[in-house]
Symmetry: D2
Subunit: 286 residues, 4 copies
């Protein structure tokens, strides 16, 4: 598929008859070929409407900026839509924040290296120096920004300066809690992996909590970060069975595999514009 | 949701630009409110197009027959569509064929009784008399039609007479192989549950085959019946882990639970027009 | 397998060298053939020891009572064991408490009827009259014991009188909270099915809680009942994926299937003496 | 746990009363503390007996070689056992063979690097030069041994010379079929990852086969290699759901994740002596 002519249109608005007809007609009139269309209404009447359309156009005269302007004026505004048009040729810029545990970050870098994640990665930032060599092996700049309670403001300022014009952040086992101000600068654009099946075991040391409660299944959760710890919209979750034989280290080992898988899926979906926000929940057109 | 005004439109045709726009405009012009829309193209260009639309209309002047005629002449024919319009108010008629194992048939009857499967069940037919009382408890006629190699033609004729104007059949562990002629009378309208993870373990005694091969996971498969045994389009599959500790009876016990779940899902999707045929494969808009 | 000569020995004690040797030698000296042996130590040293042995003996002179007395004096007491010997020929007596939702109770009755659960069921007790006919169809006495806040003491007394010498109780969606006194009379002998993935969504209406939180996976949990609501030792859990498309009724429908499966597994394991208690956790030798 | 005093004893023999008693008494007399014991009999009478015992001893006078000699003469021979004693202090030597796809091999190397797989890796051998740099980054020698139909004998001889005294081999997507002679030199000591749910889709291009058949679940299988292609004892399998939306590349991408997980589990179990052979099946004490 030619990435230059391949685009995704993502729409959220109040539901009413005629939205799909209007959008698809608009695309048809520009010779766009719809290759995937997903739609969801929260209610048969009076609900919210969500749609994602993948399309392709070979017409040389279709310029992304102009297409966007036309869509906005002819469809977006009349329907009071919250909409977003993303031509795949523009690669998103994704930064990774990590602490000492390397598995989640390395998994993303490894998938990026083999072409599974079509993004640019301007940098990996850590509050510890440990992963410098591992990150360098991928040819990605590694930045060490110490982060403690007393230096939080300065640390966050430094991180934001390093990030530059990034599209989204991934907290790949970044063990510091970011300030509400920092989070507010990236609404629904910070993905975190939490090592439990939320809402069970919020907060610290969830594997220890899980072992203590004696659950028979453990999980991992990828979610967007909001000001409230571990309370943001859930993107993806997965689980694995455990038994009385599994000690804490086993839970951590099994959990690492879950975290890698769950985070990789969430990041992929974010890159492909498959995640729409519905209050504190997500619509995932996967 | 008012079943009288709730309908599903299912479409298959060669892909080309403008299909979604044409169909959704047609519905919009009749004040139909689309509540769910799924679309799939097998290829970015030159492939086949599949769509399922759920919609609702409160206009009293929308008569199912007329809506269908108009859709056919205005959209279906111009696009050379294979299409189907199903108003939910018309309940499908589903017959069940079963031999001695009762679990799959009882699961369907139990779900039907509690309202999970909105169909009419004209009869349950068996080549054994064993399940008469169990079926009678649901208030459904039970018919015993013996079936042996020498009586197959007469048996199949008797079954067809009993069936009458049925919409589809479910083979809920019916252990006789139906003739190609019989099958041809119900194209993609006979659902079978096979007690293995197809294409592994085709044919008889799949649990014994599975145990003999030492697999670590067993499965069940619901598929449409075609002339070739266990080769029809797969609708749904599911699996469960097994270990060296599981004896043949354990595999059968675990497998029964799988079969019940897998068959119930397949039947539900068939009733809701969620299964489209793509050669020997299915598109399931679940 | 001849149930008359088939037995299970379940042991819990402080760990120390020689336990397995002593127990297996005791059985060997009586010509018992061990068909399954599971053992677990919570720590390499200084922990607790758990063991379950299935054995069979054809010696006519091995009398269950005497075997138990000998085991107690020769092995149990010297090792300060908490132990239990259960000859399979003695069928456990299991009572079922249920409210209005029939799926969990019917699943147990159906499995019991087909021989999957080798117990005697003296009665099904409900705080509603609704399920009388459904239970009667299995030939099991149904008792209606109304239960409200003001009548709780009398209701629980009536239930206990009806139960008689029951071995364990199953709360198959029994929606009343039993008193601490009642619960204390059946320590680790009341199995409840909770319709969430505990510890997430404790308390009422867990499917609504799950939908509100936007989880991507829902679950069900079977656990022993303790005085603290939904906090007892977890026996078994299972989960199913959900998406934004699933409405509350869909969660309930999918959840019912989970509840049936999870409860049936827990009950089966309890009957087979596979569940050992380790504080507020379970060891399940499944 | 002190690896120097930690050992595993693995036993296979004809079943008869008294085996567990004899083995555990032998260990008890040497002050060995059993930390895990698994036992399986294929039949209540007349079957085969399988056992794995993990134990620890702090006695300085327990010498591995002498313990083995004593066990052999006192227990192993009288019971005609096929047995194996493995002190964890002796790390197994594991070689990896790989072709061009790097995911399975890198997954093993990554887990080895972080201490999840306690083995020594003398070398990675490939019939292509592509992965030289990636392997070198782990500090492991990489050997390129071209392998074609005409050079097979010489190639296999070269591989065996490079391997030296290796304990077992892992075919981490090694796309050449090894000769029966080569395989015979490593009985049940070559682990292969096959990218399908065996016995479905034996042979080449299983993802394409899966897509063509329209299955709803794909899988991966780790097995020991025997002379017959894809027919050896299955160690582990896992699956993932797919839909009509998944194109061939998606199946390969999802499959890679399965292969990594399944192979890593199989290798771990092999290292920990958890896999026993029962004809063409495995007993996995996991």
């Amino acid at each position: 598929m030619d990435a230059n002519t391949f685009a995704r249109l993502v729409i959220t608005c109040d539901d009413r008859p005629g939205i799909v007809a209007a959008v698809t007609r608009f695309l048809f009139e520009r010779d766009a070929n719809i290759t995937e269309l997903d739609q969801h209404s929260t209610d048969a009447s009076g609900g919210r409407f969500f749609m994602r359309v993948e399309f392709q156009t070979d017409r040389l005269d279709v310029v992304p900026e102009i297409l966007g302007q036309e869509f906005g004026s002819q469809i977006g505004s009349p329907f009071a839509m919250d909409w977003h048009l993303h031509f795949a040729a523009r690669r998103l810029r994704m930064a990774i924040l990590v602490s000492r545990h390397d598995h989640a970050a390395l998994e993303l870098l490894w998938r990026w290296q083999r072409g599974e994640l079509p993004v640019d990665i301007p940098c990996v930032i850590s509050n510890h120096p440990d992963l410098e060599a591992a990150v360098a092996a991928f040819g990605i700049p590694f930045l060490h920004v110490p982060f403690s309670a007393s230096t939080q403001a300065a640390a966050e300022a430094a991180i934001r300066e390093h990030l530059g014009a990034v599209d989204f952040l991934v907290l790949a086992r970044y063990m510091r809690v970011l300030s509400a101000d920092f989070v507010a600068a990236f609404p629904n654009r910070i993905i975190n992996i939490h090592h439990s099946f939320l809402p069970a075991f919020v907060g610290g040391d969830p594997y220890r909590q899980a072992q203590s409660r004696g659950v028979k299944i453990i999980g991992a959760t990828a979610h967007y970060v909001t000001a409230e710890l571990d309370q943001g919209p859930i993107i993806e979750q997965d689980v694995v069975r455990v038994t009385h034989r599994h000690e804490l280290d086993d839970l951590k080992r099994l959990g690492r595999d879950l975290e890698r898988q769950v985070l990789a899926r969430a990041v992929r979906w974010h890159i492909e514009d498959r995640i729409l926000i519905d209050g504190n929940k997500t619509i995932v057109f996967a």
